[in-house]
């Protein structure tokens, strides 16, 4: 059982780490609720005090406007209830006094915090993690009795297909002496479930995390999320009151020593590439909490960040993600109504692949970082790039005392963001599907050098076949380059990519693609290799984007045209 005593809401709640879980007593939940409301209101009052043209009326007006816009076509019961709430607020807030507006603000913040707060049951966490595959099986069977029958008696063995790597002992040790912030890359809606399972399997403590409200729409996933320590994040809500309440909820949970997990990319990678930018909002709570912990004299004031790279050979929602990406290019937002995630048979097929080793998910936990982007060793000592110890308190001290300084802390978080992105890049695992897609896409693109990307993406079918030997040769060069990069710590490779020759890697990728994306990604015909879905090929290829690999390949080809050297495909490996 978690040490609930350590979660005492009072300012001296300093015991914590090792065995602190996510369980809050009713009193603690009430404390969190009232504290989030208090801080949210206080922030806005401060904003009003500082800015001449700002008032509570303007702040509430903005929230009412945005929420009413969002709820214009409210259909669900919940949405209709919310719409009624906002209509009521909309009628009230113009006519009342500033003191009354403060109370309206409290009500709004209260409604938001109630929505955000998750409920964590440690017993259920243990059970849920153990039976997770069965839980998913149940979810699937809800929609497909035939699938349920097929699965009956089949044991999903996720352990074999979920590879977990990284300095796990190191992380376990730090979990006992500091609050951890897990920051994974985001590929699929299944990530949070898979990571939750991975953490459990690796005997890491539970993490609380902000899961998108859309995930709670599925009753089974919702059941697990609610009980695996998730709180709700509704990305449709853009108003300042909501964002502030969310920030304070995360801050408070960190102050109480709860390990936190969030996806700093903010959303799943639509293009398939590893995150190139991250959002600093929630991450930025860390320094604030650290300074508060120091000021409160807590014995374990530290927060450490664990970048985690999720690499998937096949991605459940690949098709809808890349279409979103291409539709989004140049536009601000495009929300697909129906994605593969909402199609039970696709989920079933994906899970079956995972079970039959046709697919693999690798979670790589990176080296822990402090809030300033330095590596942290097993003993909790921060190290600079040359391994020299760093006294991290100095970053936040002024004349020997810790001080809050938002502008400084924002820059620190930017530095941390850079280190996280660097870790993502180095800990990305290149799999056969990514490498084969990269090589094939390159050969196909090179065939029509006059085409721009969008035109290339429209080419498909056997008429656009390229010689298999060209793809093999391209892949051989790519593999050699990737192995060199792995030896320098610039990327990670799946075992088959590390040791296989181009022919084998390509064959494996074809097999994997064929098992999930029927007749789509890579096919072989009489005239060579072709694709029926260039966008999907592009999606998988993008996982290796931003490593400068196209230049390496294009240079190799211009110096030594592959079409004239087919024999290279045999000698590689």
């Amino acid at each position: 059982m978690p040490d609930t005593a350590a979660l005492s809401p009072s300012a001296d709640s300093v015991g914590r780490p090792a065995n602190v879980g996510l369980l809050l007593t009713r009193e603690q939940r009430e404390h969190v609720r009232s504290e989030v409301i208090r801080r949210t209101v206080e922030d806005h009052l401060e904003m009003v005090r500082k800015a001449r043209d700002m008032s509570l009326e303007v702040i509430i007006n903005d929230a009412v406007y945005q929420e009413q816009e969002r709820l214009r076509n409210a259909r669900s019961r919940q949405d209709r209830e919310e719409a009624r709430f906002w209509n009521k607020v909309g009628h009230e807030f113009h006519r009342v006094s500033e003191a009354e507006r403060e109370r309206i603000l409290e009500r709004i913040a209260g409604m938001y915090v109630d929505e955000i707060m998750g409920y964590f049951n440690p017993v259920l966490h243990k059970v849920a993690a153990k039976v997770l595959p069965w839980g998913l099986k149940a979810m699937l069977s809800r929609f497909s009795p035939a699938a349920w029958l097929k699965y009956l008696g089949t044991r999903l063995n996720l352990e074999e297909n979920l590879v977990i790597s990284g300095p796990l002992d190191h992380i376990r040790e730090l979990a006992g002496r500091a609050t951890l912030i897990m920051t994974p890359t985001h590929v699929s809606n299944l990530d949070s479930v898979v990571i939750g399972l991975g953490l459990y399997q690796m005997r890491l403590p539970p993490f609380t995390y902000g899961a998108g409200l859309n995930l709670f729409g599925n009753p089974v996933i919702s059941f697990f999320l609610n009980n695996l320590g998730a709180y709700k994040v509704d990305r449709r809500k853009k108003n300042g009151i909501y964002k502030t309440a969310l920030k304070h909820y995360a801050t408070l949970s960190m102050e109480m020593g709860q390990h936190n997990l969030f996806f700093p990319g903010g959303t799943r990678s639509r293009s398939g590439e590893v995150e190139q930018k991250i959002k600093l909002g929630l991450l930025g709570c860390g320094v604030n909490v650290y300074v508060s912990n120091l000021l409160a004299g807590k014995p374990n004031p530290d927060l450490f960040v664990i970048p985690c790279t999720v690499s998937c050979g096949l991605v459940l929602e690949a098709r809808s993600l890349i279409e979103d990406f291409l539709k989004e290019t140049g536009k601000s937002r495009f929300i697909r109504v129906r994605s593969d995630f909402s199609r039970p048979m696709r989920v079933l097929k994906f899970w079956r692949n995972l079970q039959s080793m046709n697919s693999r998910i690798q979670l790589h936990f990176g080296e822990p970082l402090d809030l300033f982007g330095n590596r942290v060793d097993r003993n909790g000592v921060s190290r600079d790039a040359h391994g020299r110890p760093v006294d991290r308190r100095k970053y936040v001290e002024n004349d020997g005392k810790p001080v809050h300084y938002p502008q400084r802390d924002q820059e620190y978080t930017r530095e941390l963001g850079r280190s996280i992105l660097d870790a993502y890049r180095r800990n990305n695992v290149a799999m056969s599907t990514h490498t084969a897609a990269f090589a094939a896409f390159n050969v196909m693109r090179r065939r029509n050098p006059q085409y721009d990307l969008y035109r290339v993406l429209r080419t498909a079918g056997p008429d656009h076949s390229v010689p298999l030997r060209d793809v093999h040769a391209e892949l051989a060069i790519l593999l050699a380059r990737l192995r060199d990069m792995e030896s320098k710590g610039e990327i990670l490779l799946a075992p088959e990519v590390r040791t296989g020759n181009a022919t084998d890697v390509f064959a494996k990728a074809m097999e994997h693609f064929g098992s999930f994306h029927d007749q789509e990604v890579l096919l072989q015909g009489p005239d060579g290799v072709y694709t029926n879905n260039m966008k999907l090929l592009y999606y998988y290829r993008n996982r290796l984007d931003h490593y400068g690999l196209d230049k390496v390949l294009d240079k190799s080809v211009s110096e030594d045209p592959v079409s004239e050297k087919p024999q290279e495909t045999r000698s590689e490996g």
Partner: protein, 347 residues
Amino acid sequence: METIGIIGGGSFGSALADMVGTKGHPVLQWFRTAEAADRFNATFENAKYLPGLRLSANITATGDLEKVARSSKLLIVSVPSQHFREIARKLGDWVDGGQILVSTTKGIEAHSFKLMTEILREETCCLKIGAISGPNLAKEIAAKKPSGTVIASRYEEVIQKVQEVLSGPYFRVYSNSDVYGVELGGVLKNVYAIATGLVASLKMGDNTIGMLITRGLAEMSRFADKMGSNPLTFLGLAGVGDLVTTCTSPLSRNYRVGLMIGQGSTLEEAVARIGEVAEGINTIRIVKEKAAQLGIRMHILEGLHALLFEGKDLPTVLKQLMNVPQMEDVEFAYRAGQNGGPGNSPG
């Protein structure tokens, strides 16, 4: 008053030390050798770089880098770019994350294309880092002639501290958060100083010099824009301010190199006669390669490269330069105008 640490006993380091010392701050200044430090302490004169000037009595020189590194919350690093990484790495042994590091060195590391603040970031644990750049000829500053500079940093604390310590009756310190742009301005202007020296030696006329400086500015800002900086940074002291000074002052080493080459010296002869580092020569090579990689048009720089390293003669290079396609004059304003920005507004 708090002690300020200055790393480097060159002309600019000493000019700054004098400025800070004159304001009443104790200054601890690091010289490369203990002998040079002793000589300074005996005379308060930097006989090698600022001969004939008696500097502030608040300056204490030392050859002990650790002592300086641990002495102050603010350390100003003013050492030649070729030694910058080595000294930054040593500093990294002693500094802590609470200290502020500010570079005044205008240079670029050839093999990595790193600027000096990037090297400070890599070699130390410090994050509160900044760069000073502007039209700052050390001899004029030491002679207390009015001038100004830019302190560039992402950290308000750094900007406030440097403004507090350096600004005074004859020196103004402006701020900018575009660190990369400000540093790049200090690096790139040397290239155009060589070009202006060349043109000046040929007595082509003031129109030519005006065009050269302005088109040089266009190339600099185009390059900076591609590298992620704000091209408008080049309208400030660290851009046009430094460029105009360097391209017109006989005190500028790069300008003098250009002048000598125009008068018939070979590059080697000109460099030997100057006797000091003319950063612009290396910058031409480094930036030419980078611009080619990124596909950035830099005709003047390419012309200088052809002249100095590819054996082309001056008339050929000039002819080529006068025949490059004529583009819009102020391309960033033009772009803003296309997007409905101020560049398109009537009048």
